[in-house]
Subunit: 205 residues, 2 copies
């Protein structure tokens, strides 16, 4: 029957509106200021309604973190037309860093905050498919680099993780306000120079 379908669609729509409001507030004010009440106010519904569509806040944050991975994943996929693996690796890192610096709150949610992982632990089968897919893109590229004679003597898995960790670390220190505070340098400039330094070392045959 048609009513059931329409209702299902309406429910989907409202859920999407909730998520949209959360995303907006999240990007604008950060997670601290993104309360359930503020989300409800944004879409002009009551607090209770939010809880009809989302069982708790971690589920909202998990959905949000998925959107972030959808975006980053898309940008990653677009880079697979770069055939030279080392060039692609550098490009992947650049895009990753750009994403982090331009979407600090979202990056923080994806790679630093505990909420999404807690949701996965509690509701899904401990399997972080978004993280896996993204890491796969890196791993695949690193494997091709190995095949082309780069990273001689290194093993795929730890090497890939080390590369991920390296870029993530700089982004993380940036987002969590440690860069300027510790180095005294202009952060954005330092980030770029440091990234070049890293990639230079990585790309030595």
């Amino acid at each position: 029957m048609g009513t059931a379908e329409r209702k299902a669609k309406e429910k989907e729509e409202l859920k999407a509106r909730i998520l949209g409001a959360a995303k907006k507030l999240f990007a604008e004010k950060g997670i601290e200021q993104t309360t359930i009440r503020s989300i409800a106010k944004e879409i002009e519904y009551s607090v209770g309604t939010v809880y009809v569509y989302y069982k708790d806040k971690t589920e909202i944050l998990h959905d949000l973190h998925q959107q972030g991975f959808a975006q980053l994943g898309g940008e990653f996929r677009a880079l697979f037309h770069v055939s030279d693996p080392m060039e692609r690796l550098k490009a992947l890192g650049r895009i990753y860093m750009k994403f982090a610096l331009e979407n600090t709150q979202m990056y923080d949610l994806m790679f630093n905050m505990k909420a999404p992982m807690e949701f996965i632990k509690a509701n899904e089968d401990h399997h972080w498919k978004e993280g896996n897919a993204t890491f796969d893109a890196l791993r695949k590229t690193v494997q091709e680099c190995l095949d082309h004679g780069y990273f001689k003597g290194h093993q795929l898995e730890p090497l890939s993780f080390a590369i991920w960790g390296s870029v993530h670390g700089m982004c993380s220190l940036y987002i969590r306000d440690r860069v300027k505070a510790a180095t005294g340098q202009e952060p954005d400039q330092l980030m770029n120079s440091a990234y070049e330094d890293l990639m230079f070392m990585f790309s030595r045959k």
Copy 2:
């Protein structure tokens, strides 16, 4: 007069007890469970008393983060008897990582959480002396490495930051539960292998 001195000492003592209780709860239960009320309960004082000695929670967390840096700084200083700079660099990284994995909550506070930096911004002159001192130990060692012909063509400042970021990134991903979730590997083992991989690349002349 003697009473004033004694009183000052007693105040110091109680403040230290508050911090000690905070440290204990913090290490045991994590920051989420370390509430002002739980600290007050631990030392058998009322909530109000805590606020006589600490103006707010960020100040407690800042003092705690200082203790962490005192410990890490001490371990760093002990490594300066290693004369070979590259050996020392490797040792510094190892100790840093060991500290992170063995004191996850404290490391998180020192390098990830916002509270200590917010306190510094609001109360001190924007100068993160703990971070500066620690970064200096790294920078000094990196400079000696440069003097010994390592890292040819790199600049001290961005290079040092890149190295810090690399190790921090792996620790951070570990602490924030992304390692196993994304790689599917046994985390501790992966951390060690990845660290070796990094240091191998760093130490190439």
